[in-house]
């Protein structure tokens, strides 16, 4: 507790030991990924389990980037994740705004339905989705993935956006509307600029969720040139299951975009969840 005045030395040692434990627990697996990715192939078997490699090389990374399909997987994932993040944020902003500012018939039912979508196993609809997508002739297309991911992420993103809108005083739009703006104009010119952190957090959240989705992508995509990163990496792993260095190098590469996004939005996300949680 921060209020303790004369801290017991044992408590302090315990606290720093705990901090060290959490830090090591969180980072060690990622360090290991990087370490094996950097270890030269010849040394993997002799010192695979040593804490530090005696030599490092970037050849695994260059091989993965230049001699495999990973650049294509990367591009596909980027298209899908950015597309899903953009449309989800757009639609969720609209829905969150409606929940935050209007009282209307059916509001409770719609909120309840959105909550229900968060409860039931989404895998439940994997078979119907597959059939529908197949009948539309959209198997192996990135469009189908964007549509599916957008729908999946809208409910949570809506609640997130709603909590951001709730934090913006209603008077601001009222003032703008008094000055002759329509509500929509007021929303675009006054409210959106103020919710930029919220929009950023939602974008980042959906981006990471779409970037890591595996099972639906596995079901809907079977052609190599339409594979997203998770599907590609998994195929790669089952095909070349002894190329440890390359697999881990590919893993490190897959980590980069979501980590970048995470570092960028981390602050806002904690903020958003905090304000939402405190209010709720």
């Amino acid at each position: 507790m921060s209020a303790v005045k004369n801290p017991n030395p044992a408590l302090i040692v315990g606290k720093y030991a705990a901090l060290a434990f959490y830090l090591i627990f969180a980072l060690f697996p990622l360090y290991w990924l990087l370490k094996i990715g950097l270890t030269p192939d010849a040394l993997i078997y002799s010192e695979g389990t040593r804490l530090f490699p005696s030599e490092i090389t970037f050849s695994n990374f260059t091989t993965v980037i230049f001699q495999t399909d990973f650049v294509a997987y990367f591009r596909n994932s980027l298209v899908v994740s950015l597309g899903a993040a953009f449309f989800t944020t757009l639609f969720a902003a609209g829905a969150g705004y409606a929940f935050s500012r209007f009282v209307f018939a059916g509001k409770r039912i719609i909120i309840a339905l959105m909550l229900v979508t968060q409860m039931f196993p989404l895998l439940m609809i994997i078979a119907p989705i597959y059939k529908i997508v197949a009948e539309l002739g959209l198997l192996n297309s990135l469009t189908s993935l964007i549509v599916v991911y957008t729908a999946f992420n809208i409910p949570f993103a809506t609640f997130l956006m709603q909590s951001f809108f709730d934090g913006i005083p209603k008077d601001l739009e009222d003032a703008a509307m008094m000055d002759g703006c329509s509500r929509f104009q007021a929303l675009c010119k006054v409210v959106f600029p103020l919710t930029l952190p919220g929009l950023g957090a939602t974008l980042g959240f959906v981006f990471t969720a779409a970037w890591s989705e595996l099972l639906f992508a596995l079901m809907l995509i079977s052609k190599n040139d339409a594979m997203t990163f998770p599907v590609g990496l998994l195929t790669f792993v089952s095909k070349f299951s002894v190329d440890w260095g390359q697999m881990m190098a590919a893993g490190v590469l897959a980590l980069i975009p979501s980590c970048l996004f995470f570092i960028f939005i981390q602050r806002y996300l904690v903020q958003g969840l905090t304000s939402g949680a405190v209010k709720g």
């Binding site: 921060s2 720093y16 705990a18 959490y22 627990f25 969180a26 980072l27 990622l30 990924l33 094996i36 695979g48 639609f91 609209g94 829905a95 409606a98 209007f102 209307f104 018939a105 509001k107 719609i110 339905l113 959105m114 979508t117 409860m119 039931f120 196993p121 989404l122 895998l123 439940m124 609809i125 994997i126 078979a127 119907p128 989705i129 059939k131 529908i132 549509v147 599916v148 957008t150 999946f152 809208i154 409910p155 000055d179 002759g180 509500r183 990471t208 890591s212 595996l214 079901m219 998994l234 697999m247 893993g251 980590l255 979501s258 980590c259 995470f262 981390q266 904690v270 949680a277 405190v278």
Partner: protein, 316 residues
């Protein structure tokens, strides 16, 4: 802006009882919200709700893509098969084991981390960003990373476990039916602690500081402050988070699918991976949907019990 139209407009909406104003009120409350809502509703309806209903109807049909001519309505036959399916009952037991141990460790470690982050120390911002990082790691990658860590050829864990005497020799626990489930559970704990820490930290920060000051004045021990102030304040948040997380973890198939694929000998098969492998590998959509409906019913029962418990506890 020109002055006159603005005044006109203001008068139009402000004057009460007039038809114009009433219509705009009607528009405002009945139509306008749906202008903002409709894209979200349409998508959720088309991509989640309709397939959900179709999915439930699949559970009463025989739909195997590998046997296209054997399809049709078969009533409760799938459910009868399910009842006598040994794999289903094993998966049910595994789901309980997986969910219980995952949530217990995630919660305890998450609470510890939240309480640490609620104190002051040097480098806290950086520490927070780093310990939350596992949450940003794509789940398939967490699964692969931990699968590699458990591999004795390139991972250190089997050697450490053997050195500690937990394993008789460094072998891959993912291949041992007795222990395999602990592999995905470890990965799940690693991945899920930040989420609990974030939500509990938010709740901790909302506890008024005066309470702690008062407790200190009255000479309370840290343990007493924790059990008499912190826990009671956190309780509602804990209840909601644990309930939602339990459902989420019970549905969470990615880690297990990637790490073990449900094996060895179905020892890590949980209901959601069973749904996926039945749909994905066997292309038996009817039976996959039947398992899914069963999982849904179990989760519903769980939610109802929990809500009932909560109502009872709140009364007291």
């Amino acid at each position: 802006m020109e002055g006159k139209p603005v005044i006109d407009r203001a008068q139009k909406t402000v004057r009460p009882g007039e038809t114009r104003a009433r219509r705009s009120l009607y528009l405002q409350y009945m139509v306008e919200p749906f202008f903002y809502l409709s894209p979200a509703i349409l998508l959720i309806g088309a991509v989640i709700m309709i397939p959900l209903i179709i999915g439930i109807s699949y559970s009463f049909q025989s739909i195997e893509l590998l046997k296209p001519f054997a399809s049709g309505w078969i009533g409760f036959e799938n459910y009868v098969d399910l009842w006598s399916d040994r794999k289903f009952w094993i998966a049910m037991e595994n789901t309980l084991f997986w969910t219980f141990w995952s949530i217990t460790f995630q919660f305890l470690l998450g609470l510890g981390l939240a309480m640490l982050l609620n104190t002051q120390f040097f480098g806290k911002k950086l520490f927070q960003a780093l310990v939350f990082l596992p949450w940003a790691v794509p789940t398939f990658l967490s699964a692969l990373t931990w699968a590699w860590l458990f591999n004795p050829v390139i991972g250190p864990l089997p050697h450490w476990l053997a050195a500690l005497g937990i394993l008789s020799e460094p072998y891959n626990i993912l291949g041992d039916p007795e222990l395999a489930m602990w592999g995905p559970i470890t990965a799940n704990i690693w991945f899920g602690v930040p989420f609990f820490a974030i939500t509990l930290l938010a709740a901790l920060q909302s506890i008024p500081g005066e309470l702690y000051e008062a407790a200190e004045v009255d000479g309370a021990t840290p343990w007493q402050t924790f059990t008499k102030i912190t826990l009671p304040f956190l309780a509602p948040m804990i209840a909601i988070t644990v309930m939602l997380r339990t459902i989420w973890i019970a549905n969470f198939a990615d880690l297990i699918f990637v790490m073990t694929g449900g094996g060895p000998a179905n020892s890590t098969q949980i209901l959601s991976t069973y749904i996926f492998t039945t749909a994905f590998r066997k292309l038996d959509f009817g039976y996959a949907s039947t398992i899914a409906v069963a999982l849904l019913v179990i989760l519903l029962i769980y939610a109802v019990i929990l809500l009932w418990l909560r109502k009872k506890l709140v009364k007291i």
